[in-house]
Amino acid sequence: MLDNLSYRHKTPLAMSLVIVVTAAVVAAALVWQGYRQARANFISHTQTLGKTLARTVRPALLHDDVWQAYEILLTPLENPSDSGRVLILLDARGQVFASSAPRRFAVLDDFMRDTDDLALAWQLRQRSDWRQHVLEGASGRYLYILTPVLAEDGTLQGRLVQRYDQVLFGPRLNEVATGTIYAALAALVLLLPVGWLAGKRLAEPLSHLADCLGRVGKELPDTIRCEFPHGRDEIGQLAERFQGMVEELRSKQALEKHLAHSDRLAAIGRLSAGIAHEINNPLGGMLNAISNYRRRGGADHNTEKTLALIERGLQQIRETVSALLVEAKLESRALTTNDLEDVRTLIAANIQKKFIGLEWRNEVTQPLPLPSAQIRQILLNLLLNAAQASPEHGQVVCAIGLTEDGLQLMVGNAGAEIPERRRQHLFEPYFGEGEVHGLGLWVTYQLVDQLHGAISVQSIPGFTRFTVSLPLESSRET
């Protein structure tokens, strides 16, 4: 049952328990210590009293003055009828000479014989021991203090027996205990909330971590955002590992997504190439047949009109198919600045038609080991797209530069954001409504892919930017 309890409760409970137990132990120790101290003080006090009384009663004992001895024995007692404190003066034979409780210890009673305490009787028989003794009675009820009454020459004249009921310590113990318990309670009132809060704070990151861990697998790694206090303690280490794990899951997912995308594009590439080849062969045959038929002549006007219609259709199929079938033209020469400036010239008509401002930044001044035809087509495609997407009087930016990764082309426009649905299939062949075909980006992607480069897009409302980076080494390899 305890195992199922959350650390959120378990830790404060444990803290509180430790505080309560500590307070109880300390209080008990203090009470015991206080009691021992009070008892020791009491014994020391009564020992002093015994010595004083033994000296004071000596003349009375010597002069056989029972009354005087009795009066002396009564002086330290507030109330002679107090049965807790009894003072007994014994003569040299161990008989009662006088006592503060004459009814219990009558004059000339044989105290040694009458006492039921063997330890006390044994001690009283020691004739030559002239020291003061503190004895706890055999029954444990009484505390005895034995003080010898000595004559001037040191001979034993008698003994003073002080008998104290241990019940007398009860009120003192109560007093000490009450005081200590109140102090302990006050300390508990102060410490318990602090301990509870401290325990809660300690357990908080742990339960937070448990919550976060519980979300893994149920939610996407992207949506799991957990903050932990920084630190190198165990929780900190766990939190760090957890964050690492989530990060790895996230990148794994991104990688999978990317791989799936690339695979799909590659599959489409293979499919379209296959289809193009399959179509191109009969297509070439059909076009040749039309050409041969014309060359032979004799076609009437209607036939010629039909043939022209068929030829135009077949030509359109060929164009479409060849656009699908992007093939590297390895014979292409190296890229020069002029190639890039040509593209600027080529796009100028489209730009001007929509009154678009073109910001042209070309940092390439030397020829680069990249195939010029492919680069020209990539840049042209991107610029045509940008011009098409840009609103009238908009701005199109073209930046061409060199980075450590190679040539970088950036084309941006101020058009609407590309919708998410479209973005997922952006580089695939697109045959949407109202357009003949959307092969521009497909072709661009194929070209970039063949050059071992990378193409990416960033699109927010009002700004869309395509970035192409092409490694210079790739051209050397090919």
Binding site: D64, V66, W67, R103, A106, V107, L108
Partner: protein
């Protein structure tokens, strides 16, 4: 102004000091007291002293000692002028003392000795029932607190020194009562007047004791003066006059006495007879 103020103070001081200066001009009369009365009441003695000084027209001082014997010695050595003694020391020193006055108690100048026992002792009827017990005497020179029980035992043919397991002196009647009440002694001999007075003033003290036996009457402890003293008459008149003034009557009430009488010598014959009996 300063002068007049000083003068005023001087006059006031003189007025205050005058009577006592006059009184102190003479040597004080030394008056010994013994525990035949409740002489532990300092306030009462002080009032009585002032009262007597006024009547005697000379200073006086009460002298208290622990035992009768000490007062007797002081009297014999002429270190006291007069004393309130027990009848027993009086008869012992009769030829050296003059009888000044005898107190009147319960209408007569006599009192009894009481044998007291703890209240829980319902059986004891006589001192002979206390064989082998612890006994408290008040003073070896006291009639009621020593002579009477000694004579009683001797009459019964007992040896007083061996009759009791232990006997001790408390040096005061009041303390005999305390000793018996506490159980320190199983019996005690006490001045009947003291026991009666205490049972009126402090019944809680006598309640724990019981009067087991009362003696016949003896002459009340008298006030005596050293023979040949010049103050005999003045002191006697002062004592006899106490019944006649309210302050005197108040003091007598505190003493639980009716007054003083001149007293006759034969009052103490029975004590003398007892003494002779014990000696002989």
């Amino acid at each position: 102004m300063d002068l007049s103020r000083r003068k005023l103070l001087k006059v006031a001081a003189t007025a205050l000091l005058m009577p006592s200066l006059a009184v102190q001009a003479q040597a004080p009369l030394l008056f010994g007291t013994t525990p035949v009365i409740l002489d532990e009441q300092a306030q009462f003695l002080e009032r009585w002293r002032i009262y007597l000084e006024t009547l005697l027209r000379r200073p006086m001082r009460f002298v208290q000692r622990g035992s009768y014997r000490e007062i007797m010695t002081l009297l014999a050595d002429a270190k006291l002028d007069c004393a309130w003694l027990c009848g027993y020391p009086y008869v012992q020193m009769k030829d050296r003392l003059d009888l000044v006055a005898v107190p009147v108690y319960a209408g007569q100048p006599s009192y009894r000795s009481y044998l007291i026992v703890p209240a829980e002792d319902r059986a004891t009827r006589s001192i002979l029932d206390l064989r082998g017990k612890v006994f408290a005497y008040s003073d070896p020179d006291s009639n009621s607190g020593w002579l009477v029980p000694q004579v009683e035992l001797k009459r019964a043919g007992e040896d007083a020194t061996r009759f009791f397991k232990k006997g001790f002196y408390t040096w005061g009647h009041r303390k005999v009562i305390e000793a018996v009440a506490a159980g320190l002694a199983h019996g005690g001999a006490v001045d009947g007047y003291i026991w009666d007075s205490l049972s009126r003033l402090h019944p809680e003290m006598t309640r724990a004791t019981r009067v087991a036996w009362r003696s016949s009457l003896f002459g009340f402890p008298p006030i005596v003066a050293r023979k040949g003293g010049d103050e005999l008459n003045t002191l006697r008149q002062a004592l006899l006059a106490m019944t006649r003034s309210p302050p005197g009557r108040m003091l007598l009430a505190r003493l639980n006495l009716n007054g003083f009488t001149i007293g006759e010598l034969h009052l103490f014959d029975s004590i003398q007879a007892n003494w002779r009996y014990l000696e002989g």
